[in-house]
Structures are given as C-alpha cells and as structure tokens.
Amino acid sequence: MATVATTAPSAQRGLPKWVKSPTFARILFPFVVLGIWYFIYYTLDSRIFPSPQQVAVFMWEEITLTSGVRYSSVAENIYVQFGITLMRLTVGFFIALVLGTIIGLAMGISKKVDAFFHDWVMAVLAMPALVYALFLGLALGFTSRGPILAVVIAGTPFVIINIREGVRNTPRELIDMARSFEVPQNKVTRHVLLPSLMPFFFAAIRYAYAVGWKGLVITEVFASDRGMGWTIKFWYDAHRAHGVIGYAIFFIIFALALEKLVFDPLANRAFKWRPRIDAVGLAEGDMTAVASEAVLLLENQEVEQGVDTTVAKGGNF
C-alpha cells in the first residue's frame, strides 16, 4: 500500500513513509476520537459527561458482572439482555425470511402479483421504526411478541425486494436451453435458478438482519421491559451518561462483530465459485435503488476496495 506514494513529488516533505500509509491513518483515527472526547470532557460544563476512563471502568464492570451489586435495578446482566435481543432477532428474522421469500418469489414470477404488492411493500419499507414501536407497545404490551413483530415488519420488505430481483435476474436463455434439451425441472431449479438466486438471497439475509436489529432496539425502548434497547434506555432514564455511552459502544461492537465475524466469512464462502456479479439496474421503478445496492454490496465484498459499504445505503433507520 505504501509503495504508491513514491511517484508523488510531495514525498519529499520529510515525513517518514509509514506516517503516510493509510493503515497508519486508520490506526490514528481512534486516538483522534479519544482526543476530542478529552477535549469535550475538559471544556464542557457538565456534571454527568464522563471521561473515557469512567466509561472503560463501567464497561469492564458490566462485562465481568461486578457492577450488578451497585445497580441492582437492572434486572438482568448484559449477557442475558443481549441474548434476549438476539433470540428475538433470530425468531423474527426467520419469519421475515419465509414470508419475504414467498412473496418475493411470487412477485418475481408474476407481474400481476408484483403490481398487487409493490406500493405496499415500498410503504412498509419506508416506514420509520418509531411508528410501529409506539404502536406495538400499546397493542401487544411488554412481551416478546411486539419486538419480534417489529423485526418481521422491518425485515420482510428487504427480503421481498432482493428475492424478487434475484428471480428477475435469472438468465432466461439458460432456462430456455434447459427446456429445449429436456433437462428435468428439479435439475433446472438446482443448477440454474438456485445459483443465480444465491447472491440475492444472501443480500436479503444480511439486510434483513441489520435492518431488523435497528428496528428491534427502537421497539425495545417503547415496547419491552428487557433487551439491549431497554437497557440503554434504562441508563438514559437514570441520567448516567457513562452507562449510555458504554452501552452505545457495546452496540457498535455487537454490530461490527456481526458484520466482520459472521457475514463477511459467510459471504466469502458462499461466493467463492463466482468471480463477479454483473447484474445491475435491470429492474425499472423504485426498487432498483435498493436491489442494485444489494448487487453493489456483493461486488464490494469480492473486490475489497474503497469504503466499506457493508450496510444498506437507503432505508435504514
């Protein structure tokens, strides 16, 4: 990476080469954030704004379960809370996956079904999580049903759009050829339809999980008495800024871990056989944007260049 700088005349400015490498910049970034944090800490006239050490101590106590003595009003420890959220997310996600695959397949195959559902899918896709969070809290009470339903509402449209796009992108010539050579239907499904559907299916999973999670934590604030969303709201209500910031960092770690440890390796394994996906902008109308992003997303994973566009650019909360 650092070798690129050799042609530039600015290389004579006297800085060592390793300072100019993007990797150094990347490592520098958290220290700059820490510096800004200290700056705010010393300039902001606030009693509750914590220093980085305070937050670090809080997070350490949460992880090692040593702070439960002092704040016993939080019913469950962090592992249980995150586990509850993960359970709700997984249940809702599978419902969304099944529901979305059925509707998406139907919309991809039939234009009539597509016209029937299109506008309503787009409407649900664009609905803010806040609306159904408030509604579900009142309608279903503080059980797990509300949060699970929130994941279904948030995730299903993404599954539908990607599956629909996948069906539309299946190469027609291959199916026609298979027909004319009298290849049995189950072989066509296995060797033509499924492989071409795979990347879209995978994008659907990834989007639905990410978006479902974002909708879920907001719903847990208004429609639940446990879970990650409720826990960060607890510290907010208690006016403990170190708790809010500590949990915000836990959220970020959780999201990054999901992306880097679960979805990236899965994507690499699923698409090893496929050099490049070359289907962009085939559909007309509103869904193009989201679906072509799905394709772009897959391309980026394979080529590994530029900014990480690991999550949907539109339609998240």
């Binding site: 910049a25 506008d119 806040l130 650019k313 539109g314």
Partner: protein
C-alpha cells in the same frame, strides 16, 4: 421479442407490430387493475382488522382520514410540521455538508483510511444510540439532536459521494496531473461536475434516513414537532392521532423523496445517460 422489433424497417405497421403494441397496452392495463386491486384489498383488510380488534386499538383508514382535518383545525398541525422541518433542515443540512466533505476527501488514500472506520461504524449502528448519547450529554440543547442526526446520516452521504469518486474517469485526472493543473482547479473542473449526480443520489438516500432519526430525537428531546406529538398521542392512548401524525408526515416525506427529489434528479441529469441509471 425485442429482436423482431429491431429488424422491422420503419414504415407501415405490420400485423406483428400491431399485435405487440396491443400486448403491451394490455400489460399496462393489467398492471393498473392489479395495482388498484392491491389497494382495495389492503385497505379493506385494514378496516376489517380494525373492526375485529376494536377501532380504539387499531383505528381504521376512514377514522384516520377524519382525524387529520381535526388536527389541522386544532392549529398544531402546521406548527408541528414547521418544527420538524426546521430540525431536518439544520440537522440533515449539516450532515449533508459534512458527508460531502468527507466523501470528497476520500480521494486521498490517507484520509480514506482515516475516515474508513467512522463511516463503517455510522452505517452499522442504530440511530437510537446516537439519539440517546447526544441527548444525555447535551440535554435539550440543539447540539444533542444535531449530534444524533449528523452521526446517523453523514455516512450515507459519504458512501454515495465516495462511489462517485471511485468512478472518477482516471484518464482525466491523470492528464490534469501530467499537465501540472493545480489541485483546486482539478477539483473544480473535473471532480465536482462529475460528482453532481452522485451528490443528488446522496441527498435522496440521506434524506430517507435523516427524517426518521429526526422524529426519534423529537421523542426524547423536544416539546414540539411530529415525533413529540406521536409520543404524546401514544401516552394518551389516542391511537387515531398517533396514526394520523405518522401517516401525514410519512406521506409528506415520501412525496418529497419520490416525486420531488427523484423527478428533479432525472430532469437535471437527463443529458447524462449513465448518471441516471
């Protein structure tokens, strides 16, 4: 189908062409019929569910449609819209500018590396954590909600602008370097014109994220605006008002997003075919 059309010489319409045209017309008509059928089905299903569950818990479409004029009469409607739009204007405006600046800066590989993790974190984290963090630090001061909106939205803008940077015609930038054109002139004459359509897309995507997080910040740190009104309605168990606020602003945002922004995007960049697709 397409090949047969191309092979036909322009001239008197053949029977085949007329048949295709009729087929296309039928297709469009079918599409509209099924679309309307979808509207009828979902609205009826909604009304039915509302009747079964009880109109106080799930108000039907008719009742919500009747509530909106009541809200307008009460005088809170337009002031709430004004308050929310002001917040969007300030918060999203700042996020948009910051997002573009960072996106343009990613031309440098060093700065690209520097901002990489910031963009990733902003994309994967839910808006809730920024809303709560900003408000717990700054209270009802504007910095709180500005922080929340900026942190949630800037990366959406940056990613779209960075995509434009990546697609930048390399021959033009190389040539400008070879002829010793200054950096500022290169930015002004090559980069910015090329980025324009990408900035527009960034505006559209950013707005779709931005208005949602704005409503969320209003729930926690405001005494006016759509988000605040929605929370009050839900606390008073006025479901019809909750839905009326939500749906009226939802429709407003969708119209702005789809009709105004998307249309003008197509209009501005019609001369550039590759930018529109």
């Amino acid at each position: 189908m397409a090949t047969t059309l191309e092979q036909q010489a322009p001239g008197p319409r053949s029977a085949e062409e007329a048949r295709l045209l009729a087929l296309r017309k039928k297709e469009i008509r079918d599409r509209w019929i099924w679309r309307i059928a979808g509207y009828v089905f979902f609205l009826l299903a909604w009304a039915l569910v509302s009747q079964i569950v009880g109109p106080n818990l799930i108000p039907g479409p008719v009742r919500i449609a009747q509530t909106i004029p009541q809200l307008i009469e009460s005088g809170r409607f337009f002031s709430s819209f004004g308050a929310t739009l002001t917040r969007i204007g300030i918060g999203f405006g700042l996020a948009f500018v910051l997002g573009i600046v960072i996106g343009v800066l990613t031309q440098s590989r060093w700065l690209d590396g520097f901002f990489k993790d910031a963009v990733t974190i902003s994309l994967v984290s839910p808006s809730l954590i920024w809303a709560l963090t900003g408000i717990v630090i700054w209270g009802f001061e504007p910095q709180g909600w500005i922080f929340a909106i900026v942190m949630t939205t800037f990366a959406v803008v940056t990613v779209n602008v960075a995509e434009g940077i990546r697609a930048l015609p390399k021959d033009l930038t190389d040539m400008s370097r070879a002829f010793g054109v200054t950096n500022w002139r290169r930015q002004r004459d090559i980069v910015f014109p090329f980025l324009a359509p990408f900035v527009f897309t960034a505006l559209r995507f950013g707005f779709s994220v931005g208005w949602k997080v704005t409503l969320l910040t209003e729930v926690f740190s405001s005494n006016e605006g759509i988000g605040f009104e929605m929370r009050v309605a839900s606390q008073l168990f006025r479901m019809d008002e909750l839905f009326a606020w939500a749906i009226s602003f939802f429709i407003f945002a969708l119209v702005l997003e789809k009709l105004v922004l998307q249309r003008s995007e197509r209009k501005f960049f019609r001369w550039r075919a590759e930018a529109v697709t």
